[in-house]
């Protein structure tokens, strides 16, 4: 987002963004870390709460809007992005943030991502990627990395409930895909690095255009493979010398599936946005809208 609507009369602390509702997540859920990083980032940007809308789909992660003291929209499964597009196009004055899970965003809602990337509105999208469907209690998601059971042994069916014998399917790589979509801001965070995550969110919110922040946010209840330990072991910070405007390099970096770079992978500041186009059209034709002229055109 850019041109953020900020609180005019006071500096807000992270705590000011906390709503009355207590999070209903399991103890140890990665989403707690994401929530506090959000509070911090919002406070750093001093976002005006009443001019901010947080939109989500359905899932554990998608309950987040209720926990933040802004306007919110907890919609239906997978439709956070188009709902947000409607809000932002109708009300460019608002700060618009979308949150959700990997199932919500990359499975049922995955078809919307390339198109919002093309349209490039000032919207920040944060995906709490726990490599599973948390709310429905532990099935594979498109980012799941399910060990393939040997053909002798059966995987603990309590762990991967719809793939009890394992799965050969490669997970999708959302950040590599986003680079290929030419999404104008692509970053990855980790809920156990809340300060880095807060910084990434600040950058994302200040970015002019659509920004995707994929966040590893482990689900200790249903995913015993991609735990916080796993990600502590397999992530690393993107080297300072990475040039995020280099799309090919960004793709190379993002494609790494052995260890996972954290930070800003790709950024394209010059990409056009439909918001500008719409604004330009409204300005160009301002005052031209006349019902009687329209009627007389058909007379």
């Amino acid at each position: 987002m850019s041109n953020l609507a900020v609180s005019a009369d006071k500096a807000l602390t992270p705590r000011d963004y906390k709503s009355d509702l207590a999070p209903i997540w399991c103890p140890g859920c990665g989403d707690f870390g994401v929530l506090s990083a959000m509070f911090k980032a919002m406070s750093v940007c001093n976002l005006d709460p009443v001019k901010t809308v947080i939109i989500s789909g359905i899932g554990c992660s998608s309950r987040l809007p209720g926990f933040v003291a802004t306007y919110g929209f907890h919609g239906v499964h997978g439709r956070g992005l188009p709902i947000a597009t409607g809000i932002k196009c109708a009300r460019p004055d608002l700060n618009v943030i979308v949150v959700g899970g990997d199932g919500d965003g990359y499975s049922i809602g995955g078809g919307h991502l390339p198109h919002i990337a093309r349209r490039n509105p000032d919207i920040t999208y944060l995906v709490m990627n726990n490599n599973t469907y948390g709310l429905t209690k532990g099935q594979v998601s498109p980012t799941s990395m399910v060990p393939l059971a040997s053909m002798e042994a059966r995987i603990d069916p309590k762990r991967w409930k719809t793939t009890p014998y394992g799965s050969t399917e490669d997970p999708i790589n959302p950040v590599a895909l986003a680079v290929a979509m030419d999404c104008s801001f692509v970053a990855r965070g980790f809920s156990y690095k809340p300060n880095q995550l807060a910084d990434l969110l600040v950058e994302a919110m200040r970015h002019r255009g659509f920004s995707l922040v994929d966040v590893f946010s482990p689900c200790p209840t249903f995913n015993q493979d991609q735990t916080d330990e796993f990600y502590k072991r397999t992530t690393y910070d993107i080297p300072m010398d990475h040039d995020p405007t280099d799309r090919l390099k960004a793709f190379e970096l993002a494609s790494n599936m052995e260890s996972y770079p954290l930070g800003i992978l790709y950024q394209r500041p010059d990409k056009a946005s439909i918001l500008d186009e719409q604004e330009a059209l409204r300005t160009r034709f301002q005052g031209h809208g006349s019902l009687s002229e329209l009627i007389s055109r058909f007379s």
């Binding site: 209720g66 919110g72 109708a90 031209h288 809208g289 007379s299």
Partner: protein, 607 residues
């Protein structure tokens, strides 16, 4: 109206049907005829069917021109113009006795029929000859791009067939071809005349249906239903449109893409219908008046999100331009078969409003109603139109702008905002003041989960019952305030032998059938529903009370409207259904009126 009246002095009522290969000028010829008739002050009602093919396939363009208000595409065709054989085979039926067939004798000859007068017109040859005559006057490149004046030959023939003067056509050709140079104009004028002569030479003794120019007293519009719907939505204050192309609704999006920016609004072409409605819901929730338009397959895809809008109380308008057939079905044909889906298409139940446009003229007003009702009750409104209404061109009086009234949603007052503000406050009529982002003291999270008055998720049975009752109470309020208003009464006002209840684009057709029955001395009353859900039960019951028999004509397979009436009123009606892609002819409705009348009077009717 039936044929007889068409020959009465100085009154025009003529039905012309053009058929030909798609893309080969049939539509252009039709458009020109419409233009001619309109210039003569006649009222026009067109009916087109398009091939589902992309190019090629047969188009059918029916024009009815009348010197009074034109309510239907007419009953039987008096002049059939068949530019190809396929068109003649597909659409050569339903002709009036003594009708005229003008056929392209370059490509086929029809089997003789004693009930028909056939006039051959070698239209391709004649047109080519006219072009040949001017070829030396035109440069090579221009000549290549210059089409032979096939349509103009047809125009001359047609004008002559309806006993119309050629002057308006000549003036038109001068205007249209003027900047292409004198030779092109000359070619067209002579094409016009050769067409006319060709007809005159063959027509002999046959009586022609004539058109009589009428002075134009009031300004009139010549528009399609889709255009009127679009203009109406702008009049209603539309601010946001998102859509996905689908026949026969696309024209609305295309129209608004051009016009909406000037009204300060925004349009997005979405990646599918789900995204389109999601965008509208987002925009609406943020305060905009939002709308999308689609057809059956798209409405099916929108089922989940429409239910979110009902449950979360978001005002949004969805136009369904109904087309024929289940699944992909008959995409270029007409139907009223989505009524069930509009009313019932949701898991569990949330409130919504369903209304229907009844005519090209009405489409303007119903679009405004749709937006007003959505705003007033904070519910999704499904506006049902259909292919026949949406693509039809009619002459209609321009809407009286001063009659427009606009409703905006209820916003919380300064006092209501603050720590005690509850987005879903349980009010007597169920309508709760809706805070918009930006309002201090109004923050809440919209959700499709069952919630309490504040908007927080809540799962107790007591809360579920209370909040559902609150939401459905809005439907009672709709009926109370608008139930009587959103119907139209036609035909006799008092006791009736037969009462007809219908909705949508059947209005004109039923009115015409009703008029004919009235002329025959049958007391027919016609109640035309604009509001379908919530259902105006009392209005219908009162209507039923003054009718001996009820008849419900509808373009559905199972009698969806009749069933809906039964559920809401307990009334059993006579059903007249058909769902084959083609609207009723007035005579089909009339025939049923007559047979019902004969039944109730024991066959002893006067005529």
């Amino acid at each position: 109206m039936n044929q007889e009246t068409s020959t009465s002095a100085a009154a025009t009522d003529v039905v012309i049907r053009l058929v030909g290969e798609s893309g080969e000028g049939t539509v252009t010829l039709g458009d020109v005829m419409v233009e001619m008739f309109t210039q003569m002050g006649l009222d026009i009602y067109t009916f087109q069917t398009f091939p589902a093919e992309i190019k090629g396939g047969t188009v059918m363009y029916q024009i009815r021109a009348r010197s009074g208000t034109t309510l239907s595409p007419g009953d039987s065709v008096q002049i059939l113009v068949a530019l190809n054989k396929a068109g003649f085979s597909l659409f050569g039926t339903g002709l009036a006795d003594g009708s005229i067939l003008l056929y392209n004798s370059d490509v086929f000859s029809p089997p003789p029929d004693p009930n028909r007068v056939d006039i051959s017109l070698p239209v391709t040859t004649l047109a080519r000859e006219q072009k040949e005559a001017v070829r030396h006057e035109i440069s090579g490149e221009a000549l290549k791009r210059l089409p032979a004046p096939i349509n103009t030959v047809g125009l001359g023939a047609l004008m002559t067939l309806v006993n119309a003067p050629l002057e308006p056509a000549e003036a038109y050709l001068n205007k249209v071809f003027g900047r292409k140079g004198e030779a092109v104009v000359r070619m067209n004028i002579s094409a016009l005349r050769i067409g006319a002569e060709h007809v005159r030479a063959q027509i002999g003794e046959h009586r022609l249906p004539s058109v009589f120019p009428k002075p134009i007293l009031a300004p009139r519009m010549m528009v399609t239903g889709n255009q009127m719907t679009s203009i109406g939505s702008l009049a209603a204050g539309l601010q946001f449109y998102a859509g996905y192309p689908i026949t026969p609704a696309t024209e609305i999006m295309e129209f608004l893409a051009r016009e909406l920016p000037a009204f300060g609004g925004t349009l997005v072409q979405a990646e599918d219908e789900i995204a389109a409605l999601a965008m509208c819901i987002g925009a609406a929730n943020a305060g905009a008046k939002a709308m999308t338009a689609t057809s059956g397959p798209g409405l099916s895809l929108m089922a989940e999100l429409l239910n979110l809008a009902g449950q979360a109380e978001i005002p949004v308008v969805v136009i369904d331009v109904q087309r024929g057939g289940a699944s992909t079905g008959l995409p270029t044909k007409a139907s009223q078969g989505d009524l069930n889906l509009a009313i019932y298409g949701m898991h569990n139940e949330s409130p919504r409003i369903v209304i229907g446009s009844t005519s090209v003229e009405d489409a303007f007003w119903t679009a405004i109603e749709a937006m007003n009702l959505a705003e007033e009750y904070q519910v999704p409104v499904i506006l049902l139109s259909d292919q026949s209404l949406a693509t039809r061109r009619s002459t209609v009086p321009p809407p009286e702008i001063s009659n427009i009234s606009i409703t905006n949603r209820l916003l919380p007052s300064e006092d209501e905002l603050g720590p005690d503000y509850h987005r879903y406050r349980d009010t007597p009529n169920g309508i709760s003041p809706m805070a918009l982002p930006g309002m201090i003291g109004g923050m809440y999270t919209t959700t499709g989960i069952e919630h309490n008055e504040k908007g927080d998720p809540a799962y107790t049975p007591e809360n579920a019952t209370k909040m559902k009752a609150k939401r459905f109470r809005k439907m009672d309020a709709v009926i109370e305030k608008h139930g009587e208003r959103l119907v139209r009464h036609w035909g006799v006002g008092g006791d009736a032998d037969i009462g007809i209840i219908a909705y949508g684009s059947l209005e004109g057709i039923v009115r015409e059938a009703t008029q004919r029955a009235l002329d025959d001395g049958i007391n027919v009353a016609h109640l035309h529903l604009r509001l379908l859900q919530p259902f105006p039960t009392e209005v219908v019951q009162q209507f039923a009370a003054r009718c001996r028999t009820l008849l419900v004509p509808e373009m559905t397979w199972s009698g969806q409207l009749a069933n809906w009436i039964l559920i809401n009123t307990g009334l059993n009606v006579e059903r007249l259904t058909k769902d084959d892609g083609i609207p009723f002819r007035p005579s089909q409705v009339y025939a049923r009126i007559r047979s019902l009348y004969d039944q109730i009077t024991g066959g002893a009717s006067h005529e």
